[in-house]
Amino acid sequence: MFKIFLRTLIILLTAGLVAGGIYMFTQYGGMNLIGAAQDDGFSQQRGLHAQPADGEASQRQHLKRGREGQMGLSFLGLSGVVVQAGKIAVITALVMLVKRVVSMFGHRRKPANTVLT
């Protein structure tokens, strides 16, 4: 039990260190290097409404709209989930293809070695 607690603590500490590094990277303008300042398409891309910058009242109103309007499951978004699964399937298929090609070349090389030995 103590071992599991200790391991969990190590994982959380590592995550904390990584988070600290990411925070430093972002605070010291790391995101500007990859063009974050010009981005406006995030909300549309993720299907979210952008956070309003004009005070607490509008933020509260925005939060209310978010809770009421987006509380339940949307079946229109289901196609998005299928697309994400499809992307993972494509990546898997590509990696399997690469693995097969690599193993094919590996098998071709082996007989040459056995002839030499």
Binding site: R7, V18, A37, R46, G77, T92, V95
Partner: protein, 174 residues
């Protein structure tokens, strides 16, 4: 152990796919599901602790290339998940207010980081899944296909077959 792993991994994959599409789940499910996902990933890491330590200790020594590649992909995935969770918490609209916390002045940079790291997570999860494909296939055969085939095909009356243990084990992290 393998059964626990495959069930947990299937749950993580489904939760990840749902969390990746806030338009499907809605913002509150998206945020709470992601918090649950973070906790489940810690359990996933605990279940694979032995493999992480073994490969980590021998990373710069003679090691089979596939294991080293898996270790690199998994490390990148861990860093990326931390970035997704951290930026997600900083731009949170449901979880933080529910806990009575608020972060003012969060800006576009965190949103952009959340978006970029989420896209990278999809790629890395795909790679992680592909690199463990053999284990997934083995487990699906053992847990789904073999029992179904066993139900359909009638059992032979009596058969003595030598047992080969290595056939029944789906090795993880190879």
């Amino acid at each position: 152990m393998n059964k626990t792993n495959i069930l947990l991994d299937a749950g993580i994959l489904i939760a990840f796919l749902i969390a990746m599409e806030p338009r499907f789940s809605g913002i509150s499910i998206h945020e709470w599901l992601s918090v649950a996902l973070a906790a489940t990933i810690v359990i996933h890491l605990l279940l694979h602790w032995k493999w992480i330590i073994e490969i980590g200790a021998h990373f710069f020594q003679k090691l089979w290339h596939a294991s080293r590649l898996k270790f690199v992909v998994d490390s990148l995935l861990f860093i990326d998940f931390v970035a997704v969770m951290m930026s997600g918490i900083l731009i949170s609209r449901v979880v933080l207010p529910t806990l009575g916390l608020s972060i003012t002045g969060t800006d576009r940079e965190w949103r952009m980081l959340h978006s970029l790291s989420a896209d990278a997570a999809l790629l890395l999860v795909g790679l992680h899944f592909a690199l463990n494909w053999d284990w997934v296939v083995c487990m699906v055969k053992r847990m789904v296909i073999t029992p179904i085939v066993g139900l359909i095909q009638p059992k032979p009356a009596m058969q003595l077959v030598p047992i080969r243990n290595d056939e029944n084990i789906c090795k993880i992290g190879e």
